[in-house]
């Protein structure tokens, strides 16, 4: 049964239409499998081959992958939520209520979006610490670490801007408290706050501004950095790059990754 299923699939992959879309064609030879990666605009960010060790769970706990997963879930549910949402006060709150009471599976969508957002913040932090304790920030991956820090800030901003959108008491006061922290910056604090909120108070202007940031600007910027982040993984030598191994044993030889530690 499975065999015939695979045959059908191979047949499908051999059709002209399929070949016109996916240029790698049929076959499971290393070449074909390499082509899958190389010929795909998204996958070509990855190396065609990786060390077997990088697939081990303990190395990464798959935290980066999982973070990407939450991001994808958030984009999908977010787009669906946008269909039911007006960024105006107090209509935003009524829309959130309608999601709960009238829209089919609306409450599920919103819950999934919210819990995934919390999960993403948590995973980003976890990813960062995991990378640090593995020493994976070491040269030559300094810059990818920096991009990672930028992505951490992006994630926090995305979550923070999304927090306001339901326009309930929880949202309103969380954002008020948060924006008051920003205004503590010397000299420019109030200016930053004004720019963030589009006014001196959290009001309809702030809601619109946060909506645009949350649904448009920040996701695009985040995707841009995520692309660089992935691309740099390959360019910096892939996971488990030898350079990033701690050089306890070879402290005397500068930057010579001649042998693997232990």
């Amino acid at each position: 049964m499975a065999k015939t299923l695979e045959q059908y699939f191979d047949e499908l992959r051999g059709t002209r239409v399929w070949r016109s879309v996916f240029r790698s064609g049929t076959g499971s030879s290393p070449l074909h499998r390499s082509l899958v990666i190389q010929q795909n605009v998204f996958f070509h960010l990855f190396a065609t081959k990786v060390r077997r060790r990088m697939m081990s769970f303990s190395a990464t706990w798959y935290l980066g992958t999982l973070t990407l997963g939450t991001f994808v879930i958030l984009v999908i549910t977010g787009i669906l939520l946008m269909l039911y949402y007006h960024p105006s006060a107090p209509q935003a709150y009524a829309d959130t209520k309608d999601l709960q009471f009238v829209v089919s599976s609306g409450l599920f969508l919103r819950s999934l979006h919210r819990w995934s957002a919390h999960a993403m913040v948590f995973l980003v932090f976890a990813h960062m610490f995991k990378v640090f304790y593995r020493g994976a920030y070491r040269p030559p991956r300094e810059f990818n670490w920096v991009i990672g820090v930028v992505l951490l800030l992006m994630t926090l901003l995305l979550s923070y801007t999304g927090y306001l959108l339901p326009w309930d008491q929880l949202a309103y006061w969380a954002i008020t408290v948060g924006s008051n922290i920003a205004s503590a910056a010397p000299f420019v604090g109030d200016k930053i706050r004004f720019m963030l909120l589009g006014g001196n108070l959290v009001n309809a202007n702030a809601l619109l501004r946060f909506y645009v940031l949350h649904c448009m600007i920040l996701p695009l910027v985040a995707m841009f950095f995520i692309a660089i982040h992935f691309w740099r993984i390959r360019k910096d030598g892939g996971l488990y790059s030898l350079q990033s191994q701690p050089k306890v044993a070879a402290a005397a030889t500068p930057l010579t990754p001649a042998k693997e530690a232990q």
Partner: protein, 234 residues
């Protein structure tokens, strides 16, 4: 630096087995560069599908949680009715907890700014890149500096009554003292482990401890007027 040519180009000849790899060896690179043969796998399908499975498992967990627990929603935003306490999103509650102790400029701007700066510069300082145990070299001076910094930090936190930040600090300091008393030749494997940890490890661990404790305190242990409450007693 070792003497070498400007660069050497090497070509792996077994193109059937693996894609071509071109290696540039510049003057700044050691001439000893050589490929270590290691078992490799095709990204497709091995890695991509494993990643996809991981993401799906996460999605299953999230969907299950979303089906069981609804996202919270409170009353319509009302600027005239301040809830008590008014809390920021959970990942900022560590900051809000610090705002309780320090002036806003310190807790709201200086500390987070320094943290972000510190995170960014981590890979650019050799002291972070080297992976030697903190006290394995220049031991006397480093011990002296460590004790001064630890005592000063503790007194500072104590004088501001920041006990929630003091406790993690003291725990990390205790481990560092243990590390100072150990070496790579110590009998216990845990002591050998501690002895091998570099400075950056200790700072990051301290930061992680503080982050977790402050966030947890801000989330669960703070009630009206930012007073201390026990979450199980309500």
């Amino acid at each position: 630096m070792s003497d070498g040519k400007d660069f050497v180009t090497g070509v792996d000849s077994s193109a059937k087995r693996s894609p071509r790899r071109v290696v540039f060896v510049t003057r700044r690179t050691s001439a000893q560069v050589k490929a270590v043969d290691e078992a490799e796998v095709q990204t497709f399908p091995e890695v991509l599908f494993r990643g996809a499975v991981a993401v799906e498992l996460l999605a299953i967990a999230l969907v299950a949680v979303s089906l069981l627990f609804s996202a919270p929603l409170e009353g319509l935003a009302d600027p005239s009715h301040t809830p008590n306490p008014a809390k920021a999103p959970w990942y900022f509650l560590g900051l809000q907890e610090m705002l309780h102790y320090f002036p806003p400029v310190v807790a709201g701007v200086l500390v987070p700014g320094l943290v972000v700066m510190a995170l960014i510069v981590i890979p650019y300082f050799n002291i972070n890149v080297e992976a030697e145990g903190l006290f394995s070299k220049d031991r006397e001076r480093r011990l002296r500096v460590f004790y001064i910094v630890a005592v000063a930090l503790s007194i500072f936190l104590f004088s501001f009554h920041v006990y929630v930040a003091l406790v993690p600090t003291l725990i990390v300091v205790a481990f560092m003292v243990a590390a100072a008393q150990s070496s790579l030749q110590s009998p216990g494997s845990f002591r050998r482990y501690l002895a091998a940890k570099p400075l950056s490890y200790w700072i990051m661990t301290w930061f992680l401890f503080e982050l977790v404790v402050l966030t947890a305190v801000g989330t669960f242990f703070r009630g009206p007027g930012w007073s201390w409450v026990w979450p199980w007693r309500s």
